[in-house]
Symmetry: C2
Subunit: 141 residues, 2 copies
Amino acid sequence: MSPCQTFIETLRSRGFRITPQREMIIEAIAHQGNHVNADELFALIQERTHAVNIATVYRTLELLVEQGLASRIDLGEGRVIYATYQHGSHIHLVCRQCGQVLDADQEMLSAFNQQLQSNYQFAADLQHISVLGLCLDCQTK
Amino acid sequence: MSPCQTFIETLRSRGFRITPQREMIIEAIAHQGNHVNADELFALIQERTHAVNIATVYRTLELLVEQGLASRIDLGEGRVIYATYQHGSHIHLVCRQCGQVLDADQEMLSAFNQQLQSNYQFAADLQHISVLGLCLDCQTK
DNA sequence: TTTACTGCAAATAATTTGCAAAACT
DNA sequence: AGTTTTGCAAATTATTTGCAGTAAA
């Protein structure tokens, strides 16, 4: 079953209605695979049909996050992206200069996570953390 | 020399004009010592005088950041705080539930920082990073 | 049939900006 | 005097919301 079908079935089984709009949105985000922001997703859908409103895109993304099927990642400076959970956990390395987003191995933070727990009793949510900095290209410029 | 005086002298030496508004704003943020957001800072100043406009607060904070005297920290979900550099480097632990911000020792990330550099050639800006999660109180609720 | 979902347009909220007046240096 | 800086109000931008109509189940 494609990830897209899985999402739809999950929502249906939880009593949500599957509208053509939701199908389009889920298909777009799942098929795209990578992180997207609401505008990009909306633009992607507009290429095929104008029958989906931007408000519906926001509402559907919110639903996916609430239902644990996607995560909302706040990159700072007002930039917010969404990623479905087919796309595993990782760290987002966001270039302050060019805006590029690199993915890094989540494992690098496991020691840190344990220290936060033992030293500060803080349960960090590191599933999709983001770190600002400079990518290689922008360091040399 | 108080940190507040230092900031003022630094700005003056770089050719910026010291207006009563800037003095008030700098005094408020430096005296407060901790992180503040623009609204809180504005409210703090309003307690003493109404002669400072919110736009000026934003412009002055921007100036302090540009001039390397303060940092702007994006906590996600639209929350932005500012801290002057008298307030050393540290990690911000932001509780997703109650919004409380705890400070943690910056040192915990040094190994991670090196790995980012060697494995991804990414120069992370970890001066004032923020991590979302749940604080002890909210974990037990 | 029932009531969840959608589109639309207006509301938010936090920040930014244009411009003429005020005020540092 | 000559610019910088300020206040004010309007613009921005991304997102949210109210509400009446539409359509899944």
